[in-house]
Amino acid sequence: MGSLRHFIKDVKDASTPKKERDIINKESAKIRTRLKDDSVQGERRRTYTSKLLYLYVLGEKTSFGQVDCINLLSVSSSSVSTLNYEGGMDFENKRLGYLGVILLLKDENQELLTLITNLISQDINNSNKYIAGLALECLGSLANKDLARDLCTDLVSLITKCVDSVSKVDNLLTNSTGNSSYLIKHGLVAASSLLKKDPNLLTHFLNVDNGNIINKIFDTFYGADGQLKKSDVTHGVLLSIVDFITSCLNCKKLYDFDNNYDFMIKRKVIFEILQNEKIAKQQTILNHLIEFLSQAKSNEGELVNYCFKKLIEIHVLESVENSRFLTRAILYCGFYLKNDQIDEVLTIVNNLDPNASTSFIKELIDLLFSEDISKEDKIFFESNFAFKVLSVWCVGEYGSLIIETLDKSSSQTTSQQIVDYFYKINNDYYNTIENDSASFIISYLVTAVAKISTYIQNKALIEKLRQLLVFHSNKTGNLIISVKSNQLLSLFSQPIDKKRQIFAKMPEYKHEGNRIKDTYSVKSNTTVQQVDLLSDLFALTNVQTSKNSNSLDIPSNSKEIFSNDSLKIFYSIPDGKPILNHEANLDVYYKNTSQFEISQMHVFVAVGKSQNIEVGHLTNTDIPSNGISKQTFKIMGQGHLMTRIKLQYQINGVPSVEQFDYKFDKDI
């Protein structure tokens, strides 16, 4: 039997495909018998194995030779001492054997892999870095789940060892990584392959006992300034680091939360996931997280709390699409939240943009009053203090939205349900003196009672609500709550429109310190921030007031300057105040043409650069259907009379903004 070269030449020079076939078949049969013969060793065995590999390149069947490749590896390891005297590495056999195994065993015959598990675990610790490298390469390309699990710890300790030795070399040679970079490179690549096979192995790489490998690598190769420490680090090492970290990140996405790994690791995973929340599959990750939260056991309170805190910190839940997750997160985490965290949640809800808050409230009400909630959800309700506080607060704040907008057809039932719900809460937390959480929730409850009463139509229900306040204003209860209830009671009998202003929704809360604005401050919430609109182009003023109006009429000489579905605006020049001396006084009338109430109207007016404007108070910021509100503009300066007007108002509780320019046909 000839050499490999001979065989290749014969195949190459075959004149017809048939002849080629014959040569190959003949040689293949020969190789098969020879490899079975154990007396064939050393050089001759290697020749046969090489020919086997050539058969593989030609696309022939090579499965019969798989075991022989493995033998080549194991024979060499068992005969180390007898065959070789120096170092006993037997590199020739290893090199060819691993090449054979890598090529021939790929994707086939998974049972055979158990045979090489031991070999690999020995060889990756071989003193010769090239043998170790080959073994790592083999591990990377062949590993199935079992092999990955078996050898993962070996791999982790190898990488750790190498990284450590690089840091040690660090002290001696500032510019060299020694021999370890080759192993680190191959080790990390193998590690990424293993992680792809079984994401759960990530625990080994992030295990705290071993020290976090990623941190270690970074500390070893990069200085504090982010510069590479070693000048001889090739791109290969860096590539493998990047490759490894990418695999780790992918794993975290796939990470199986059901497995009972310890708290630190879960926490780390959650942290890493949320740090990378920009990655596309945010929704999937959130789904996973929520599912995890829903299944959290009581001993995982700390973790749940941590997770929730992180979710809040990164503001991922505050978009319209994610409001579903927010309700769920609160529902599942509520059990573990402390009072100040609950306050924080309320702040977040309060600061949601209108669209998000609408869908959030919708979700919440569905959960709260839906008949067919699942059993688990019900259990969550029973024990979920945070959720109760939140729901009470939301009903108060978003009363108009809930009763008048969300479900008009059944507003009567909703009102009934709300009142029942409040009574239930009230009964559950009656002891406001000794029980901290009771006083916490009841203080929210009384405010909510007052607020919601402005939107409920049914007289009997309003009376029931009033009774709640009366109950709490009782001197025997908690003093703070009783003071508060008394104040609210005194406001309770005010006319409805006035009450609505007083009990309007809280404005967006700007964080100043950690605590949410206390509910007491609700009563003084009618201040409005100055909005700096077009400040370099136009002088600007905004004015808003809460005075009640007497009924007004629009003078007959007025002109319409704006109209939309719900609002018409007119101006007139009042008698006795003609446009004179670069000064114009205008009366502006806002007429509500819709069938709903317009509330919280704010008017922002800007005039040309050469002019100044003083804007008077609106006679009333809430305009009932067909009502009118009046305002005076005093414009001073020179030039053509022009205004840009921006209106912010709520119609039927839904915020709305209008802006328009109007050019008067007059000069000043």
């Binding site: 390309s141 690549v189 290969g236």
Partner: protein, 168 residues
Amino acid sequence: MLDLQYMILLSKTGKVRCIRWFAEYTSREKQVLLKDVISLVLTRKAKESNIIEYDMKSVSNTKSLNGHRVMYKRYASLYFVAGIDDSDSCNELLILESIHRFVETLDKYFGNVCELDIIYNFQKCYYIMLETFSSDGNLLESSKKKILHDIQLMDQLENNDSINNILS
């Protein structure tokens, strides 16, 4: 980054000179794929693009390999063919560059490489491939110098072994 599915060195006569599978395929898939790739690549004209869209669905319905592309580059009589993932993260130019690196390394190792070098020393070619591309089809080392240095050391070790064997 590269996410190669396979790497095939193909002669212009359609003979495989060196082949490595990075992704997991069954033998049947490999067979069909190889046949398709050979006919696809060989029928390309010089002016056509180096990227061929390849629909895997006809071969396999088990895996999401449908969006898969074949990239090739011809050097003299040899085609270097790589199967690449059809994802956004895949950079075709980077793949061409990696192939070129590989060819340059071969060239340096054999000294003006020709097809015959690769035919007769296909193992060496594999060894260089092992050092250039990692087991999951990514670039393992981009430095030619480093690869050649490592390969030469390994060759030396191998030769020492032979001498030792003769001596003992």
